[in-house]
Every structure is written in structure tokens, then in C-alpha cells.
């Protein structure tokens, strides 16, 4: 059965607000793709065509944008996408060990999705959390820092129960209490 994708009246009102931020009709394509991906969970070709129609742009242009940026899902992904950082600082601090642990735990490799459609794993480039390595991001959202095997277990168990981990605020060490931290 073919699914048709449509924007709701509220979405279209939101898109008008986005369009007002830019002086031409091509520029809103990235925020509108984000909106579409938030709503549909991916931006497969049918969604790209919806975005193209809505913004009066060639579908080829929208496809070009989707295929350039790694965060747009050009095909359906698992409900939870585990983006494990393996770039330099994470590599040095055990990012690959965490990646391989998650792969073994879920029985899939990076780039694959579990049969039940719950999890996808990706090995990604630097996410800008270098001091809190190893780390991963869940479905373009929350960052999970200072990962250990135990912490990964807790996070994955939580996701299976529908619990997204909370945002962790990590203060600068020099602002920490002086009784525990002499510097600053």
C-alpha cells in the first residue's frame, strides 16, 4: 500500500513562518526538510517531492540537499538512531569499543537496522563533545556522554521501554565548587 505524505494546516503555517526568515524561495529548504523529517521520521523521495511542491522548487534540488547532508534520512531508519562518534578524541577514549559493544548487543553492524525496526546504528564523524568521550547522539537529538558498557545497557533498556535519556548539562570544570576543585 502506498502512503501519501501531506503537510497539515499547522505545518503549512509553520512553513510560512520559516519562509519569512529568508529573502528568497530556495533558502527555506533546509528548515523545511527538518520539519518534514521530524514529522515523518525520514525524508524519502516522496517526502522530498512534497517539500519541493510546497516550496515550488525542482525535486532534483531538494534531493541534492538531502544527499549532501548526513543528518537527513533519505531512507527509513530505526525508531532510535544511535550515532556513535568515533572521530579522533572519541577514538582515543574508546569510541570504537563502545560502537562494537552496541553492534554485538543489538546483533547488527553500523549502517544497519534491527529487524524489529527499533534501532539503527551509525558510526559518525565528530559530534563536538570531544571532552566527554566516548559519546553518542540519539536520533539527531540528545547527547549521551562519558559512555561505558553499563551506561549503554541502561540507555538501551530505557529506549526499549520508551524512555529517552535526559539532556546532560556539563559545567566547565573551573566553575565547580572550590572545595572539590582547586582550580578557577
Amino acid at each position: 500500500m502506498e502512503m501519501t505524505y501531506e503537510f497539515s494546516k499547522e505545518d503549512l503555517a509553520e512553513i510560512e513562518k520559516i519562509k519569512a526568515k529568508y529573502p528568497d524561495k530556495k533558502s527555506p529548504v533546509m528548515p523545511v526538510l527538518w520539519l518534514a523529517q521530524e514529522k515523518f521520521g525520514h525524508v524519502e523521495p516522496e517526502v522530498q517531492q512534497l517539500v519541493a511542491r510546497t516550496l515550488d522548487l525542482p525535486a532534483a534540488h531538494v534531493y541534492g540537499v538531502v544527499s549532501f547532508y548526513t543528518q537527513y534520512y533519505g531512507k527509513k531508519m530505526g525508531k532510535y538512531v544511535l550515532d556513535v562518534c568515533t572521530t579522533t578524541s572519541c577514538q582515543l577514549c574508546g569510541g570504537y569499543e563502545i560502537l562494537h559493544y552496541i553492534e554485538d548487543k543489538l546483533g547488527i553492524k553500523a549502517g544497519e537496522t534491527t529487524k524489529d525496526g527499533l534501532f539503527s546504528i551509525q558510526s559518525v564523524e565528530c559530534l563536538g563533545a570531544c571532552g566527554y568521550a566516548p559519546m553518542m547522539q540519539i536520533t539527531n537529538g540528545v547527547y549521551c556522554n562519558h559512555l561505558t558498557k553499563e551506561k549503554v545497557d541502561t540507555i538501551i533498556d530505557g529506549l526499549r521501554a520508551g524512555r529517552m535519556p535526559e539532556f546532560e548539562s556539563i559545567p566547565m570544570p573551573q566553575h565547580l565548587d572550590e572545595s572539590t576543585n582547586k582550580i578557577g
Partner: protein, 426 residues
């Protein structure tokens, strides 16, 4: 040069609880410099003061921000833009997110002052898409600034209008390059533009544009408050001011620290970050993000985090995102991962970069997997020469420098690996 860092009080991100809330920011002197600017300064005076302060761009290039501002042409009545660069994708760099989280209004105030100085009509804050949590924080801060009349029409009754929008990236390192960032803002693939024309002449939507790093703009209110001479007295004389050091890798207490420029690298490792994990020796330090040439542990004596000292030592300040590696680090493996990054992130426009980054990675995989030969080391250096300075943007250079300097400075690691190949055993 000795910096009295132990008595240093952070200026960009002071440890004041809830400073990200606009009321708390205002109570601590926030937006006073904007008021002062609008009431008593001319745009030229602001540009001259910032130029004199010599705020060197914190995004990596280290160019004098005020001088960059002075390249903007005279207003012609049409729109003019600032694109604030919060793409922050250089491996080892994680500092601007601290501004978004802990002191977003200092950046907003600095961006409005910069907007006034250059007759700007809109500021686009480009933040990497992965920073969704921080994008939301920034949007909230901007909404609050609008509600208080610091943004929008007729700001504080001055007659000056300015809008500020957040634009989310979607996962592309290259969009931190200023012309690629503009392409991305215009809703296109992030292909860097050929220069000239420079952004000041023809930037966003063909209009005059200045691109500044988030941290750079956050320094502006400090200069307006205390003057260029005060600012120049902080840290290294030729590269002054406070700086956010993002330190990661094999240290005991990694994180973002704010201290003056010109801090000794060994002091940062041993005193600020509590030394090396497990008491190990330093094998290598990448001073300012993965594209800056790594320094050997025995090259670090007396080297400080400022442009001059690092140039003399054979590296660069970059984003001050320092990656520290201990004596057990496999430099072949570490270099392969850096090359994999640049191969993945090359936009594909220019052949030397698109293919060069691939050749570099393939050759390093061959060496890493024990199939390398001595001549592969020369091949790597030759590839670097074929890439450096031969492309539209600096990504090819950023990919080549770590290869060139890791292979030459840690040559014994590479030689050892190619001498113990599977071929030698056969």
C-alpha cells in the same frame, strides 16, 4: 611568558548561576554595552575600537575581527548580513556550545553591536544540526532578546533595526567554511565558492556579508566595556584576549576552560587538566583541532597557545581545541582516523581534494593493516604536495597538514609498521 592564570576570572563564561537567563544576564551588567553603543558611539568608532583590540578570529584563521569588519563597503540602502559561525565541526572543538548553554546573551549582545557597527539588517546564526539541544537554547535566548526590545525594529529607541535568526545545519563539516556556510544558508549543497568576490563584496544572496565565529562576537562587549588597551593587556600581546580552550584526549580532567591566550601547553595539561591519565607521558598534542599539525611530546617545552608561539613550534592555534595523546597511542591508527574524517567530509568539488583525501586514507589503511611499503611514506608526502593550495577552499590543506606532519614527526612509528609488514614475513 608566564600567565597568571590561577587568579584569572572568566569573562566570556563567568561562573554565575543561571546567566543564560536574560534577567540574570541584565542584573550582571548585560546589554549595558549595547545601550552605551547605541547612545554614545558611532559605527566607525566601534569598528576602530574592535580593530585596535585585535580580537583574532576564534574559528581557526585568527584574522583581526575589526579589520574584517572594515572591509564592508559603504551602505547603499540594501540588506547587509552577518553570518555567525557556530558550525563547530573541527574534531577537537566543542567550545561554542558552552556559550550557547551558559552565556548566549553575551554573544547576542556582541552580534548586535557588530550589526550596528556594520549597518547590518539581519544576523543569521548558523549552528550545526547535531547541536539540536543548543539550537533550542539559542532560539529561546533570541526570543527573549526580541521580547525585551534588544532585537527587532527601532532597538531601544535608537532607530536601528536588526533581526536575528537561527539556521540549523544538517551534518556537514564543510559548512564551517565561510562560503560553504553561505551556500548552506541559501538552501544549497555546501559547496565552497571561488574567491574573489569576497563575502564583504558579494556574500549571502549577493549582498555584503561578514562571517564571524560565535566566540569572536562574544568578545565584542568586553572590548566596548573596557577598551582596546585593556583587552590587549590580556594574554599574549600579538594574540590577546580570553579564549575557550577545549581539551580532550588522554588527560585526567578534559573539558572547556576559559583562560587568557598564551597559556603554556604543558601547564594546561599538567595543572589545568590534572595531568595525563595513568601518569603516562605525552606522545603528541594537536593544538587547535585536527587540521593543525601535531607536535611531539618533546617539542612542547615552552610552547604557548598563541599564534606566534605555535607558528615557531611548527603548528597553529586553530580553534584552541587541543587533543592530547599519551605514549601508548598508535600514531598510524590515529592518523588514519583523521584522514578518514577529511575523506568523508570532502565536498567533492575539486579533484585534488575529492580524490586526494581518498588516496591518503587508502594508503594509510594499507600501512595500518600491515601491507604498507617504505615508498608509501613518500607517496603520502607527495600526495600532500599535490593537494595543498590547489583547491577552492582549505579543506584539502586541512587534510594534508596532519598527514605531512604526523608522517614526518612520528616517522619511526610509520617505518616500524612498514618494516613489519606481511610481506616481510613471507
Amino acid at each position: 611568558m608566564a600567565i597568571d592564570w590561577r587568579n584569572y576570572k572568566p569573562l566570556l563564561i563567568p561562573g554565575i548561576p543561571n546567566l543564560h537567563k536574560i534577567e540574570v544576564f541584565e542584573k550582571n551588567g548585560g546589554y549595558e554595552q549595547l545601550k552605551k553603543t547605541l547612545k554614545s558611539l558611532t559605527p566607525e568608532a566601534v569598528v576602530n575600537e574592535v580593530k585596535a583590540a585585535n580580537i583574532r578570529g576564534r574559528g581557526g584563521a585568527g584574522f583581526n575581527a575589526g579589520l574584517k569588519w572594515s572591509f564592508m563597503p559603504k551602505p547603499d540602502g540594501g540588506p547587509r548580513y552577518i553570518a555567525a559561525n557556530g558550525d563547530e565541526s573541527e574534531p577537537g572543538t566543542f567550545k561554542d556550545r558552552k556559550i550557547f548553554e551558559y552565556n548566549p546573551h553575551l554573544f547576542i549582545e556582541g552580534a548586535i553591536i557588530a550589526g550596528f557597527a556594520m549597518h547590518i539588517t539581519a544576523v543569521y546564526v548558523y549552528i550545526r544540526g547535531e547541536y539540536k539541544s543548543w539550537i533550542d537554547m539559542m532560539q529561546k535566548a533570541i526570543d527573549d532578546a526580541y521580547a525585551k526590545g534588544y532585537l527587532g525594529k527601532n532597538i531601544l529607541g535608537s532607530g536601528f533595526d536588526l533581526d536575528m535568526y537561527v539556521h540549523s545545519g544538517a551534518g556537514a563539516y564543510i559548512c564551517g567554511e565561510e562560503s560553504s556556510l553561505m551556500e548552506s544558508l541559501e538552501g544549497k549543497r555546501g559547496y565552497p565558492r571561488v574567491k574573489p568576490p569576497f563575502p564583504a563584496q558579494k556574500g549571502l544572496w549577493g549582498r555584503p556579508t561578514t562571517i564571524n565565529n560565535i566566540e569572536t562576537l562574544a568578545n565584542v562587549p568586553l572590548v566596548i566595556k573596557n577598551g582596546a588597551d585593556w583587552y590587549k593587556s590580556i594574554g599574549a600581546p600579538t594574540h590577546p584576549g580570553p579564549v575557550l580552550y577545549g581539551i580532550s584526549g588522554h588527560v585526567n580532567r578534559p573539558g572547556v576552560y576559559e583562560y587568557p591566550t598564551g597559556m603554556s601547553i604543558m601547564e594546561l595539561i599538567n595543572d589545568v587538566c590534572g595531568g595525563m591519565r595513568g601518569g603516562k607521558k605525552v606522545k603528541a598534542v594537536i593544538p587547535g583541532g585536527s587540521s593543525t599539525p601535531p607536535l611531539r611530546g618533546d617539542q612542547l617545552e615552552g610552547v604557548c597557545m598563541d599564534a606566534d608561539s605555535l607558528r615557531t613550534a611548527g603548528s597553529m592555534m586553530g580553534t584552541a581545541g587541543m587533543i592530547v595523546m599519551d605514549e601508548d597511542t598508535d600514531m598510524v591508527d590515529a592518523l588514519w582516523r583523521i584522514s578518514h574524517f577529511y575523506h568523508h567530509e570532502s565536498c567533492g568539488q575539486c579533484t585534488p581534494c575529492r580524490d586526494g583525501t581518498g588516496f591518503l586514507e587508502k594508503t594509510l589503511i594499507k600501512i595500518r593493516d600491515g601491507e604498507g611499503e617504505m615508498r608509501d611514506l613518500d607517496l603520502l608526502l607527495d600526495l600532500c604536495t599535490q593537494m595543498e593550495g590547489r583547491t577552492i577552499c582549505a579543506l584539502a590543506d586541512a587534510a594534508a597538514w596532519p598527514v605531512r606532519y604526523t608522517v614526518t614527526r612520528f616517522r619511526e612509528d610509520f617505518e616500524k609498521r612498514v618494516k613489519n609488514t606481511v610481506f616481510a614475513l613471507a
